[in-house]
């Protein structure tokens, strides 16, 4: 039987199993190799930090 803590949302899988019983995992999917999203998150954070130092004044 699966350990709930391995799931991305353990409480949800627990509640689903309470309703449906234990479900075998259907298959394994590979993690995406693309780094697009991680790079996007980093770039956005850096850009936001830079924006904080903008000197614009609104009147």
């Amino acid at each position: 039987m699966a350990t709930y803590s391995n799931f991305s949302c353990p409480i949800l899988i627990q509640k689903l199993q309470e309703q449906y019983g234990y479900q075998e995992k259907k298959e394994d999917l590979p993690f995406r190799k693309s780094r697009d999203v991680s790079e996007f998150i980093k770039a956005k954070e850096e850009s936001e930090k830079k924006s904080h130092s903008a000197k614009v004044v609104f009147k």
Partner: protein
């Protein structure tokens, strides 16, 4: 809290027959002079069919009194004239005694006008008019205000509009007042309190001067309001030095990221030789017939392997107030260009640890992760086959629309869903989701360009936990579930792979999009 709205009149209210040939322009010129903002408000109620105007004088109380004290503390003599409250009714009546037979369905809103030193010019200190009349206007969160008219309380639902006095408060104060009023329980916030926060925080507002980004975010942070800030520097036409920056996310995406979840955004822009101005943006129009070319320009590219068509594509204008000119203006989506320096401060729900832009990029990543499964489902489900085609063959020709919502809102949405064949989501699945989902969710709805705008329908959604910080690692930290057509997918972590567990959601076709009316 302001009690100007509920203050009693200090003399007998004047009832004015506002039907033609009554002239709004003449009335305004005779009382208030050349004031654009009140002309705009009167034009709006004219369109809304107002027939009766009530004019009352009221004392300076509540937020206005606080404003007076702020002015006096700066050594400025205030104007002692009473304020004027004008209220608008759809019904025709001739005597103030007839106010008792009026109800909220006739009440279109109010404006309170105040004289400002040193020259005694008028401003609209505040106003709330019912929201715009057009079917394609979307304002996802309206606030209700009680207003005393002739001794009777009415209420109006809308977005608070207000104007600066240019001395102790400026456009940024007015924009903040509107934005804070939309998202905090009292539905209003005084300039005086903003200035107190700035003083206490060591960054006081200087008389007649504007507010900096640092001061604006100090006020937001003091109120625990979450935001995303992005400044888009002015670019010369040939300048492409910032190409690799996140600034390639259009400024409109930041606006939309707030508005679609019922939150406002502050939009600042530089003006030729006039410094910078900032306005509150809180709604949008939606054009179902917008032509969207199947070209690079229609995609949002998270990176070279991750792209999609954002639902913002079908927005034609953003709905805003401009404290200089009045309420509920439609700002064309592409009006501001990179010849202006543009600032967006996009507000989001109090417990949301990341914004809709990140949520949508993360959701796109998970949808691409699910590609092999959607491909297999396509062997038996024609809609899965179409989605598979959109992801695989057309390289991202699918639509994402991302909203923040509570678990209760999401469950209620799922409960109401019906497939094209009237099929619904099973009760036991709803029960499990209701008990097991996190409290606050980012829900990225998945659709197709041919299905989304005209039919306002979708094929499923990717659901993320909005209460956890988004990490740049592919660690499933925020992933909750994906519902694609008749399957709900959950992910199990392992060292190399993602284990997929699925449950039957029973809807094999497209369903309605989340209706933001639920957010009201």
């Amino acid at each position: 809290m302001s009690d100007l709205r509920t203050a009693s009149a200090i003399d007998v209210p004047q009832v004015i027959d506002a039907k033609p040939a009554f002239s709004n322009f003449s009335f305004i010129e005779s009382l208030f002079g050349n004031l654009d903002s009140i002309r705009r408000i009167f034009s709006q109620v004219r369109f809304l069919g107002y027939k009766t105007l009530i004019v009352e004088h009221i004392d300076s109380v509540g937020f206005s009194k606080e404003d007076d004290l702020d002015l006096q503390s700066e050594g400025i003599s205030i104007v002692l004239d009473p304020l004027v409250r004008v209220s608008f009714f759809r019904n025709e009546f001739k005597n103030i005694a007839d106010i008792t037979s009026q109800d909220n369905s006739s009440f279109l809103g109010y404006a309170i006008l105040k004289k400002i030193p040193p020259d005694g010019h008028w401003i609209v200190f505040e106003s709330v008019i019912i929201s715009p009349r057009h079917d394609n206007n979307y304002l996802h969160k309206l606030r209700k205000y009680n207003v005393n008219v002739g001794g009777k309380l009415f209420n109006v639902k809308g977005i608070l509009y207000c104007q600066q006095n240019s001395l102790t408060n400026v456009c940024a104060h007015a924009a903040l007042r509107t934005c804070i009023s939309i998202i905090t329980p009292p539905a209003d916030f005084s300039y005086s309190l903003m200035n107190k926060i700035l003083r206490d925080g060591g960054k006081p507002h200087v008389l007649k001067q504007g507010l900096s980004i640092e001061q604006i975010v100090l006020i937001l942070e003091n109120l625990n309001i979450k935001y995303s800030l992005q400044v888009f520097p002015r670019k010369l036409s040939q300048d492409s030095s910032d190409k690799t920056q996140v600034n390639e996310i259009p400024y409109q995406s930041f606006l939309y990221s707030s508005i679609e979840s019922g939150y406002p955004a502050l939009l600042g822009f530089s003006l030729e030789e006039l410094g910078a101005h900032i306005i509150p943006v809180f709604g949008h129009t939606f054009n179902q017939d917008t032509w969207v070319p199947k070209a690079k320009t229609s995609y949002f590219e998270v990176g070279k392997d991750t792209r999609y068509v954002p639902s913002e594509t079908w927005v034609s204008t953003y709905i805003c107030h401009d404290d200089n000119f009045g309420s509920y203006y439609c700002l064309p989506r592409n009006y501001l260009t990179n010849e202006n320096e543009i600032t967006v401060i996009a507000l989001r729900p109090f417990n949301a640890e990341f914004d809709a832009i990140l949520a949508e990029a993360i959701a796109a990543d998970y949808l691409y992760t699910l590609k092999p499964i959607i491909h297999k489902e396509g062997e038996t489900n024609e809609w899965a086959k179409r989605l598979d085609g959109a992801i695989n063959q057309k390289g991202g020709w699918f639509v994402l629309r991302t909203l923040c919502m509570s678990v209760e809102e999401y469950i209620e949405h799922l409960r109401l869903l019906k497939g094209w064949g009237n099929e619904t989501i099973p009760t036991k699945l709803l029960s499990a989701l209701s008990a097991g989902l996190p409290k606050l969710l980012w829900v990225a709805e998945v659709s197709l360009p041919e299905l989304f705008p005209a039919n306002k329908r979708k094929l499923g959604e990717i659901v993320l936990d909005a209460g956890k910080v988004a990490t740049p690692k592919p660690d499933l930290a925020n992933f909750v579930l994906a519902r694609i057509l008749n399957k709900v997918y959950c992910f199990e972590r392992s060292k190399e792979n993602i284990g997929l567990v699925e449950y039957d959601a029973e809807i094999k076709t497209h369903t309605d999009l989340f209706s933001t009316q639920i957010l009201n």
